[in-house]
């Protein structure tokens, strides 16, 4: 279906000679020198580079490099193979992604469509560079807009009682479509540990509050009761603990005494849309690193 997304086709053409290297390892002298020399020797030029070293006695070093090389596709296998030695030397955890390949992202949605719509329009405009092979929902309301984008829509009704059954169908689809990233775009069903653990740091959720305030259901009702002057939304990776996973991005919007619970929900939706989109974009750009239940966004 992405072949119908002209903007992304255009992006792929423009970036087919680019790749990204993500590295984390114990900090020590010589890492940047070795990696940049490695790239130079393989005929690659650094386009963008961001790093961070955590501030402990034995710090952890994180690096995200974007590099370019003529005929990158032909060098792909060699570069990956050659990098192993360097990675071993520095005990690196690493991955190389090549920009001519698209990640495959599945979206889950329930009744509220505002986040889904925002994602689809940003995807259509080429801002979210990914394949969206399918959208899964426990309601029918999203079918029309999803299919208008030429994306397969799967309606799988769900509730607490049949949770495992539902997830089995979902997991089968995710495997069949070879999904890299799952976005819960106001998908309101709670996922079991089994589901979550099969996709570590691969499920991005948007929670309709400013975490860690108002974890769980009906955050706006509780925000209203508490009389806060700002409400928010938080995008995070899903873990086994509800709403406790590493936060990727958050934002707030001002409210006051004139706002009813419904007004809070309405204002909240504006923030949920932009926060989820930023988090997804950064994840697709390989900018988000998880470390100690927090994120480093390079």
């Amino acid at each position: 279906m992405t072949t119908t997304n002209q903007q992304i086709q255009h992006y792929l053409t423009k970036n087919e000679d680019k790749a990204r290297l993500l590295v984390s390892c114990p900090d020590k002298p010589g890492i940047v020198s070795s990696i940049s020399t490695f790239l130079y020797e393989h005929g690659a030029n650094i386009v963008e580079s961001n790093q961070f070293t955590t501030d402990h006695e034995e710090g952890t070093f994180f690096l995200r490099i974007v590099f370019a090389s003529e005929n990158m596709k032909s060098k792909e296998e060699t570069m990956k193979a050659d990098f192993y030695a360097l990675a071993d030397q520095f005990e690196m955890t690493w991955r190389m992604t090549f920009l001519h390949e698209l990640k495959r992202t599945a979206i889950f949605v329930s009744k509220e469509l505002h986040c889904l719509r925002e994602l689809l329009y940003e995807w259509e405009s080429g801002d979210l560079v990914t394949d969206i092979p399918l959208v899964i929902s426990n309601h029918e309301s999203a079918r029309e807009i999803v299919e208008s984008f030429g994306i397969p829509f799967y309606y799988i009704p769900a509730n607490k009682e049949i949770r495992e059954e539902v997830e089995e169908k979902q997991l089968d689809l995710l495997e069949e479509y070879n999904i890299d990233l799952i976005i819960l775009a106001r998908y309101m069903q709670i996922l079991t540990p089994k589901f979550v653990d099969s996709h570590p740091s691969k499920i991005i959720n948007i929670h309709h509050s400013f975490l860690p305030a108002f974890i769980g259901a009906n955050p706006h009702k509780r925000a209203y009761k508490r009389g806060v002057k700002l409400i928010g939304a938080t995008s995070h990776y899903v873990t086994d603990d509800l709403d406790e996973g590493p936060i990727i991005e958050q934002d707030v919007i001002r409210v006051d005494h004139r706002n009813s619970v419904n007004d809070l929900k309405k204002k909240g939706r504006l923030i949920e849309r932009s926060v989820l989109n930023r988090a997804v974009k950064w994840a697709l750009e390989d900018r988000v690193i998880v470390h100690k239940n927090k994120t480093i966004v390079l």
Copy 2:
């Protein structure tokens, strides 16, 4: 001491013919009509007016009116006396304040002076219209700046064990100086219910987190651990429940993985200063109404 604050003197002269009326009562037809007619008949013109009706079946009506009249001082007693009948008719809770009289505000501070400084400079510039008859602290560090403004400084060392003894001294001073409003400008001692209950909705605190997140001590440490992307500060009226009182104002500032706990404290201080100042300014302008453990700021 305020006679040395020229800006406030100037304000008093400019506003000596003004007064404020604060009203709350069960909503019903005729309130605004009766009050505005009352003012008109007493030769007063409405300068500013803000109202709010809560959205329940039997709504509560809140009103803040600023009005002006030539020779207001001479009318003061009559207006107050005459208003009682109207107030009874509508079962109003009300008060009239006259702008030629200054509120008397005491500030409590501990070691960190950033909030105190901000208050004093804003007071000096005439932005906070009040007398500041004294500052109380459990440390000596604030003495120099407080006395440089010609304000009496009282050093009363405090700790958990001697809490009641300390508060007795403080309460005596507050009574002696006839204090209307108490500001805890990063005053780190917890007040007993006895103290709090003697000043309902009269003690404004600044808590160094975005409530209800990170209630209690060391919020920055916990914010750091949680990996939030925004930290904040909250100004609220103190109640018997620590950090649970009605929120007057809040704000946030962006942080990221590069910020240590110390950085969070530093950034937080910027927000604490402005949030506390806004809350105090609104309270001094009689804009803050407490209702169901929340605030309506008119």
Copy 3:
């Protein structure tokens, strides 16, 4: 077409007994008293009230009151007729709008659809309370989404040379459809004084810069060149002077050296959407008053 907009139907039902009174006149004692007494005597209760007096020697007074009365529809004519005397007495400029009647809003759009989409979705959700009888465009790209909402779409190609001819067609349509408000949702054709003057304070534009910076075409190119760290969008009433009309709302978003001109356009679009929506919503709620080429938003 609005009969298909269930949210708005719901709103109309809920608010059919409400009305709004907008007033401006020279400030003097007795205005609020007279108006509120007038409402009381006509069996109306004040639901919401906001006023402002400009700070000159002969100040101008502005008021927006929302009031409710059982069987408002039956009282409509009487209330309007009776108000004339009061209005004369105070030399008021005024209007009364009744919430059971919808305003009729036309949208103009060119190639970029992001603002139009945002308006349509907010309208669909009931947040923008209005009829949208038609959308006019000089491109075909908006046809699909507009017609998907059941709204008539008129394609009228335009360019500098045939401006008057084009506007004649447009003006005919606006008259035929009895339009109250015109929104230029990134409509890129410049309107002639003839068009503008026929709709004073009735044409809301969204300009893709933070006015008064970067008036005219290609603001992002110039913002990029200047190296600003924030770009913005401004919603304003159209006057004969390009981008000089009264500003209704503005907002900004942060940018930096990594952002190309295209990135600025992309970020700008996020802000254009929300700024235009807020301005339109306030205008539909009769909150926007024009005074001395500025706006007072009550």
Copy 4:
């Protein structure tokens, strides 16, 4: 005087083994590799690194590296000497600064002290790492606070007529005190091209508007007239064109119809303080690079 600034002493001790390298040159493969290898071979470890390549056909490459090495002081001369060859090879413009040495910053101020105060307090808290050998003013109002920090204060009255005479005295002082950076903290005298050209990219000004809007005098008056909904402040390097120099940082604050020109000035001051502080802090941390009359802040 900095020997009395304990926070900065503490910083110096903690960072005496650190240094910064700033580089700009035509982009080509091998730059990062060469530099990082150079550092590695000189026994230095990279602590922080940020780079940016401009997006033209012949891009310009910018790099800011913070590196650490035991006994940095003893290596200083060698490192600088050895780097020349590498710099030549890549046609680099570069500089190495060593963190045990403080920059020497002079502050100019006129009547309004809010920016100066903010700078002094942030300096006192260790947040602005620099010597402040002197403050120059054309008024006496700042003397008290400047001298309370143990900093020499020079009162040099100024006006348009005696501009050259005044600047001669100022330039003599700046040379005598060996000043690296000049901050105009609401210094209201316009500097001549002679003065400006003697300190290219070394004079940081805070302009009390959101540039490029309201260049020149009385911006708040004009902002008020235009009816903007946000006002701002801009920190920039001074060039020969008034308020046209490269922007380092900007920010805005919301205003509305209730705000008089004085209110705008008051709100503006809050923003001027924080914007100037951020710009100065980044400049002191060697994060600000000037390129094509814009800044890249790494």
